[in-house]
């Protein structure tokens, strides 16, 4: 394989990684603050994809319909997430992990069926939006603008999140709650509000991931389960609760997929698990995570 091919493969790997990053980082963020492993996170992502499809088909007469739905779908998903948090998740904080696991599993079932009720079992998709529907051609390299857009939006979101947590007042509150809930509470932080906010932010990210996937893929029942397992793999590689970890994990995941298929195409099915097991054995808390106390 020539250099050109390798560059293209590198770009594809990054594109794969950045899409999954948007989903995984939400999962990691929620776990970091709420200590809840939200199994329904990928279903939230699926909801984002369906909503993106739905809004853009409703607005099909309006120009730039995709961009409107890219704006609205994640917000709707975030509102739905806030509703879930206030109504259900709030009741199970501090309970055993099993309870959280089952509650969020129940949400997978419910969200999956609600999508089916609303949009049927057919496949749907969204047109690639102007001006990203063409490819960039550069000295024999062909690469779609949309994928470039994805590759760029990943780091953008990462930097945005990182600075939000690092430099803003809001971020310091979130960090305080993450570090010690009781202490933050004693200091007058409205902990439940922070929880709701972080959960909504996580859902917004998943919804954004879903909306961004819609133009390059099929929106269909069952699209959540595959992504869920990939997200687990990524957050475990990167370290649960770490934003940088999710970024690094996604990057590794994307690149291993892209280059792995050049070397061992028959193993594509197992790449993720192999990565995950290796990391868990050498560094159980993930590459960027902190060891448990």
């Amino acid at each position: 394989m020539n250099l050109q091919g390798l560059v293209i493969q590198l770009l594809s790997g990054m594109s794969v990684g950045m899409v999954i990053f948007l989903i995984a980082v939400g999962l990691s963020l929620i776990f970091g603050t709420l200590q809840v492993l939200n199994l329904a996170h990928a279903s939230i992502y699926m909801l984002g994809a369906y909503l993106c499809f739905w809004i853009s088909s409703m607005l099909s007469q309006v120009s730039g319909s995709f961009w409107w739905s890219l704006l609205m779908a994640p917000l709707l998903v975030a509102m739905f997430g806030g509703f879930l948090e206030v109504l259900l998740l709030r009741r199970i904080y501090g309970r055993e992990m099993l309870d959280q696991f089952l509650l969020t599993f129940a949400l997978i079932l419910i969200i999956g069926d609600l999508c089916k009720l609303a949009w049927g079992v057919e496949y749907h998709t969204v047109d690639t939006p102007w001006p990203l529907d063409k490819a960039i051609i550069f000295g024999g390299l062909v690469f779609p603008r949309y994928n470039v857009f994805l590759i760029l939006s990943g780091p953008l979101i990462y930097v945005g999140l990182w600075s939000l947590i690092r430099y803003t007042r809001l971020g310091s509150v979130v960090r305080a709650v993450t570090y010690n809930r009781e202490m933050a509470n004693a200091l007058g932080v409205n902990v439940p509000l922070v929880y709701t906010g972080v959960f909504m932010l996580g859902c917004w990210l998943a919804g954004l991931g879903g909306a961004l996937v819609a133009p390059m893929s099929a929106v269909m029942p069952g699209m959540d389960m595959v992504v869920l397992i990939d997200c687990f793999i990524i957050v475990v590689i990167g370290g649960l609760g770490s934003i940088s970890g999710a970024f690094l994990g996604s990057m590794i995941f994307g690149l291993v997929t892209a280059f792995g298929i050049l070397v061992a195409p028959r193993l594509a099915i197992a790449f993720g698990f192999i990565l995950m097991i290796v990391v868990l054995i050498i560094r159980p808390w993930g590459l960027m995570g902190k060891p448990e106390r």
Partner: protein, 409 residues
């Protein structure tokens, strides 16, 4: 409150066991066992259910079978083999159905087929495609009224040889037995037609992959003459959407059996579709002009609003086939019905079909042609579609089947 819940629970459990199987009175019961929930299976199961319902309504309105109405008992296999077998037992032992039809997953089909064999109840596969079901693992009680993987491979290989005939073949397929079997069957036929053809590269994305970017770039940087793909269902759409902006379909020739079916194509627009791909279809309803299809398809479209109907066409046909067989047998005796079905020619939306006596496989044709947009329709579809003529050519011969069954033992 607690007491009410307690009593409710007990009552529920008691009621469950007291549901005595109703005595086989008037209606002729049959089981519809399909994936109606969970994952991709329902994309086939749900329309199939609609097709079967239409057939049952039509038949009952016209006076039923042997003067008795048909009753469809619908069950969900949840795309899990153990649930499939559990429901098959329920249908046969408790509901006393006369036959079972449906099933999307080949694994579940094999399991239900094996169970039906022990119970001597007819099972008709209407969606699952594994050639083994009526081939190596075939028996007296299993039928199939749809195509199978052999027909896929042969039809696609024929078309590929006719249209292109290159020697360097690239393979991409989902990483499970279906994908590998398709590759094997395809290459076997294709090397027969184009001697010296070889596989120059292969990719096996895991089942359900959403983002095909690295696979597409890898294929584009290979120098194969064409690509054979066994990707199916939603992956057709996902692959197309990702591949289109790369200019993939202008640069790469590709052939795949599921790429002409409405399940994947009906939602595509001129902005991204598998342009020029040699696609196959079980049921290209827009090309068919026969009295049954002209009545059935508009009805199906009206009821479900869907364009995608390959499973439904099979389900619909199957109910009519059983009606014809029961009437020919003159009774509900399973053995007599089987004798009637063997070699029978049935009517279907794709034209008359022969059910071969040796392996109980309906000689369902499979159409292959390049995918394109025409002025007639608002979605891409296969054009210049040709099926093997006669359709028997797409299937293994009776002696091949016999040999395969012997080898199995």
């Amino acid at each position: 409150m607690k007491k009410i819940v307690l009593i409710g629970f007990i009552a529920l459990i008691l009621s469950f066991f007291s549901i005595a199987p109703t005595q086989a009175a008037e209606p002729i019961k049959f089981g519809f066992l399909h994936t109606l929930s969970g994952g991709v299976g329902q994309v086939y199961g749900v329309p199939d259910q609609a097709g079967v319902k239409i057939a049952v309504e039509e038949i009952n309105k016209a006076g039923g079978v042997l003067g008795r109405p048909l009753e469809m008992i619908s069950r969900d296999d949840k795309l899990k083999a153990e649930v499939g077998v559990r429901e098959a037992k329920d249908l046969i032992l408790n509901q006393k159905v006369h036959w079972i039809q449906g099933i999307v997953s080949s694994g579940i089909a094999l399991a239900v087929s094996a169970y039906c064999k022990t119970q001597k109840v007819i099972f008709i596969d209407t969606v699952a495609q594994s050639a083994a079901t009526t081939g190596e693992k075939g028996h007296r009680y299993v039928f199939r009224i749809t195509t199978n993987t052999t027909n896929y491979a042969r039809s696609i290989a024929n078309a590929a040889a006719k249209f292109w005939g290159g020697k360097k073949v690239f393979i991409i397929g989902p990483d499970y037995e279906y994908g590998h079997r398709c590759k094997k069957d395809f290459m076997k036929t294709y090397t027969g037609l184009v001697p010296g053809a070889e596989v120059v590269g292969e990719l096996w994305p895991k089942l359900g992959t959403k983002d095909f970017t690295p696979y597409i770039t890898k294929i584009m940087s290979s120098n194969a003459d064409f690509v054979y793909t066994s990707l199916w269902g939603g992956e057709v759409l996902s692959f197309t959407k990702t591949a289109w902006p790369f200019g993939y379909f202008d640069r790469v020739k590709m052939a795949g059996q599921d790429w002409g079916n409405m399940e994947g194509l009906s939602k595509m627009t001129r902005k991204a579709y598998p342009k020029g791909v040699l696609g196959g279809s079980h049921y290209p309803w827009w090309l068919l002009d026969n009295p049954i299809n002209n009545v059935y398809y508009p009805k199906f479209k009206k009821v479900t609003g869907m364009d995608a109907g390959l499973a439904a066409a099979s389900g619909y046909t199957t109910v009519y086939a059983m009606k014809k067989a029961i009437e020919k047998a003159g009774s509900l005796d399973t053995e007599k019905i089987i004798d009637a079905l063997e070699g029978m020619v049935i009517d279907s939306p794709v034209g008359p079909l022969k059910i071969r006596a040796c392996d109980h496989q309906a000689m369902w044709p499979f159409w292959v042609g390049p995918v394109a947009f025409t002025k007639e329709f608002s979605w891409p579809h296969i054009t210049d579609a040709v099926a093997m003529d006669p359709p028997d050519k797409g299937y293994r011969t009776c002696s091949e089947i016999e040999a395969a069954r012997k080898a199995q033992k």
